[in-house]
Structure formats: structure tokens, C-alpha cells
């Protein structure tokens, strides 16, 4: 007798058109979040604080209640939701422009306060939705529409390493950086996302996952080449790993 081993997660809506670009890792990341919510059995008790940027459309794809925050303020709104309804599982799904740039203060302070929320941040080294400008995670040397000869230190300085910074905050329960460039890494990414929700469910503190992701459209690369760039250029600078885990022995 046939056994079904693969299906659409219940958390994902099946009847919508997905609007992410071909080869963009947002689709994989959203699916991983959906699988985790399924497996933890928390779909109907979870609230999403949605961000501005390519990540905003996430609420169109997943079956959870959602509030759309202004740019950079997804963590603050998540904090408000959680303080009002501590019984709910609350998470943000943001880009690096949202979390690492305009919303960095909210992220750091939520981590310091040990807010029992989960923040997922996509790092694709650029502002995707506005057409590929230099952002807080753009690599040194990287050409963008606002760093036409590449990111140089004189004008732009250095990119931020989010997972390490968040790990430094005493209220952080879990902070990790993962990559979606290969099947083994996608599996690790899912484990990290799951952990970031579990620490919230256990009331241990702030859960954070930075996901290295492709932006084939703005990088002007095929999906294959974009994933090769994640491996060859991003991962040596943004090293995947678990930077803090209060549940580890």
C-alpha cells in the first residue's frame, strides 16, 4: 500500500500564487518555517509579525494570523503582541534591510530583554524589493546599484554579522546562522528554525535565525550560480553555525 511521504505543510496555503522570484531562497525559507510550525503543532496558536521588503508577502502564503509592521518595526510589534498575549507563539519574518538596518535597535533590545519571540532574518546581502541597493549585509567589494564600483571601506564600511551580535545579548536563548545552498544545509536550517521556536515555547528567551539566501534577480545570476555565490563568497564571511544555545549542555 502506498504511503504518502511528502505533502504541502498545513501551514502553507495551497491556493495562492507564490510571488517570490525564481531561484530565490525565500520560498525555501517560508516552507521550512511552515514545516516547523506543522511539526510543533502550533499553527493555530501562532501570530506572525510581518516585515517590509520581499518578506512582506509571507502572510499571503501561510495560514497564521498576521500583523504587517512598518519597515524595521516587526520585532517591536511582535513584542507588543507577545506582551498582550503571552500564551501565543509570536514570530517575525524579516529581511536584512528590515532587521539589520532600520530595525537593528528593536532586534538588539528585544534580545537583551529576553523577549520570548522568534525572529527569522533573511540575509541576501542586498535590498531586494527596491532593486538591489547596498545594505547592512552587503559584502566588501560587492557591486550593487548604490555601490557601482563595489563596497569600499572608505564610503561604506563593513557589513554586520547579525547572528554573532544577537548571540552576545544575555537575553538571547538561541542564535544561529544557516544556509540554504545545499540539501544538508537546508536540513540544518530547519533544525535551527525549530530550535528558535522551541526556546520561545519553553520560555527561555529570544530565538534568532539568520538565513543566508539568494537573490538571483538583483545579483543577476542563475539560481545555481547564486547558490555557488552563497557558498563561495557569503559563507566564508558569514560563517554558518550555532552562536548561542542555552539548551546545549
Amino acid at each position: 500500500m502506498a504511503t504518502q511521504v511528502f505533502s504541502l505543510p498545513k501551514t502553507l496555503k495551497g491556493d495562492v500564487k507564490y510571488s517570490f522570484c525564481p531561484g530565490c531562497d525565500h520560498g525555501v525559507a517560508v516552507r521550512l518555517v511552515a514545516e516547523v510550525l506543522d511539526e510543533l503543532g502550533i499553527i493555530d496558536n501562532t501570530i506572525l509579525s510581518a516585515a517590509i521588503g520581499c518578506s512582506v508577502t509571507t502572510y499571503d502564503f501561510i495560514n497564521v494570523d498576521a500583523l504587517e509592521a512598518p519597515h524595521g518595526r516587526a520585532v517591536a510589534e511582535a513584542v507588543g503582541i507577545k506582551r498582550a498575549r503571552p500564551d501565543k507563539i509570536v514570530f517575525t519574518y524579516q529581511g536584512d534591510g528590515d532587521f539589520a538596518s532600520i530595525g537593528l535597535a528593536e532586534g538588539i533590545h528585544a534580545a537583551l530583554r529576553g523577549e520570548k519571540i522568534t525572529a527569522i532574518c533573511i540575509n541576501n546581502t542586498t535590498y531586494g524589493m527596491t532593486g538591489g541597493q547596498l545594505g547592512p549585509t552587503t559584502l566588501v567589494g560587492q557591486v550593487t546599484t548604490t555601490s557601482p564600483t563595489g563596497r569600499n571601506l572608505e564610503y561604506y564600511g563593513y557589513p554586520i554579522k547579525l547572528a554573532e551580535h544577537i548571540a552576545l545579548c544575555d537575553g538571547t536563548a538561541f542564535s544561529a546562522r544557516v544556509s540554504l545552498d545545499s540539501v544538508p544545509n537546508i536540513k540544518k536550517a530547519k533544525q535551527a528554525i525549530k530550535k528558535a521556536f522551541e526556546v520561545q515555547m519553553k520560555g527561555l528567551g529570544f530565538g534568532f535565525v539568520e538565513i543566508l539566501s539568494t537573490c538571483p534577480t538583483n545579483w543577476k545570476m542563475s539560481p545555481d550560480k547564486a547558490h555557488a555565490r552563497v557558498r563561495d563568497e557569503m559563507m566564508p564571511v558569514f560563517k554558518p553555525g550555532i552562536y548561542k544555545d542555552v539548551t546545549a549542555e
Binding site: 501570530i47 499571503d60 497564521v64 512598518p70 517591536a76 510589534e77
Partner: protein
Amino acid sequence: MVECLTDKKVLTKGNYAIANAAVLAGCQCYFGYPITPQSEIGEFLSGKMQELKRGYVSAESELASINMVMGAASTGVKAMTSSSSCAVSLMQEGLSYACADELPFVLVSVMRGGPGLGNIYPSQGDYIQATRGGGNGDYKLIVLAPSTVQECVDLTYKAFYLSQKYRNPTVLLADGLLGQMMEPVEFYDYPYPEIDNSSWALSGTKDHKARIIRSYGPLADDRCRFLEKLFQKYKTIEENETEWEEINTEDADIILVSFGSTSRNVKTAMKKLREKGIKAGFFRPITLYPFPSKRLAELSKTAKKFVTVEVNMGQMVDDVRLAVNGACPVELINKGVGIPPSAEEIVSRIEVL
């Protein structure tokens, strides 16, 4: 500092009165960042909300606190933040989003001197900020202006109620004078019905399909329909919630219009003018939005002149002029910032108008 007592008269500051009233109104979450002259609100609530096991965050900025209050409001609970002038400026983006998202909460704005950092003297310089807003797009905030510490209590209750009833942010527009001065005040139980928010609030999908509270509207036609609906709501608010106080206006030649703490000396000035045989009337908008334009227009048929008295460079005077629409002159007596002009000063300035 006062405790959350009801049916008992206490002597307290406006800021404590507002904070205490918020607790009694059932405010479940408070988020704030310190700024003079309203810091006592956050100080009082920091202890009280923890004692009552309600939500409280000493936020990292006003950007954070306005967004935290929006987050809390999205779950249907009563929520509040408070701030002052230059820091309310930082909240304007959030207020625009909150109107678009139809999120109910209370913002207590205790005005100080401006523009910029200004100073910590009382001021009414944020009338335009409150009634017109600095956020983007078409939206309105319900704005209530207390003139006494007792009204700080009464209108805090009302602010929670109106925000919930109309799913719109509501501003309690006080000033440094009201915030800092002490008066006898009576607390009482929240007098309004509780509003059921279960049809729209975010609570997880156990009993409803996934809800999205959003302001993003990519299609022009959809956005037009949304704005028409939003402004239909504002029309209802204008028809039902406009509130003002008027004394001796029916036979008045000159009607003094003033709001908030400044109006107290103006009321005395009106009486002094009457004693001098000048037919003066007193008109105090209590809701600054919706503004009592209709009533002012009626009064402009019999009055010979309106004079607004404000502690700013002339802000509400524009609304009075719009209401009167040229039917008679509208003059301004003002000072830029500080303690409101005395009744005697107002009388003498009216005599030379």
C-alpha cells in the same frame, strides 16, 4: 502618587491621574520611553502594571513604543503609550499605519514647547500635529483635550472607549501644565461598555481563518474603496462624537474660543468681560477632532467676532476660521509657549482688539 482607588477624592498630578485612569479603564499593556513633562505616567505604570501582571515595556525608543502598542492592539486588548511633542513626532509613521490598520489604542500626548527640542514649558504647539498628523496619507486621529485634572481622568476613559468603538487611535492631548499640576480628582469605575473585538483581533486560527492586518494595498481601486470606507467611519465619528462646552454664547457679540488648560483663564476672562458690560461668550472644543465646526458656524450667524486664545503661534484659529467661513472676523490672542495668559491679560488684549 495615588493608588487605583475609586469613589474617593485625592489630590494628584494630571500625569498620575491619566496613568491611574488608564489602569482603571482596563489598559492591559503600556509601552513608553521617558520624556519630560510626562515621565510620571511611565513611572507610575512601570510598578502598577507589573503588580497587576499586565504588559509593560520600558521601550528603547518612541518608534518601538508606538509599534509595540500597535502589536498589542492587534490582539484586541486595550493598550496605551504616552509621550510629548518632539517624541510624538517619532510616532507619526506608526499613527499613519495604525489608522490604515484600524488599530485601537490611546496615545497620551503631553505637549511641551517646540519646535525641535524646544523646552519643557507648557505649550499647545501640537494642535496641528495631533489633528492633522505628520504621517503619510489620508487619516484622522480622534483627539480629546482635557482642561482639568478631573478631565484627564474622564477623557482617558473616553479615549479608550472611542478608540475601541471606532477601531482608531485616539489622542489624549494634554500639556505640561495639566501633567504637572495637582488638583482634587475623583476616580470611578470605567463607565463605558466593553467592545467585543473578537471578530477581527489576532488570536491564532483556532476559531477563524487566518487574518491579516495590513496597510499594504497594491491595487489602486481596492485602495480607493478602503479609503472611502475609512472616511465614512470618520463621518460617523464627526456626527456622533463631537463635544464642546459653551457658556453665554447665545447673546454674545464676541466669542472666546480656547481649548485645554488655556481655556480656564479664558473662561474667567469671559466672566470679567461680562462684568464690564461686554457681551462675551466662551466656547471650548473638547474634541479637537472631530472639531465642533457646525456649532461654530451656527454661532457665527449671531456673534460679531471670534477670538481664539492659544499657547502657540496660532493653530486652532485656522479651524475656527474654516468653520466661520468669513461670516465674521476671527482674531488670535496667543503666546508662543509657557504658562497661559492670565484672565486680566486676555481682557486687556481684547479691549484693544
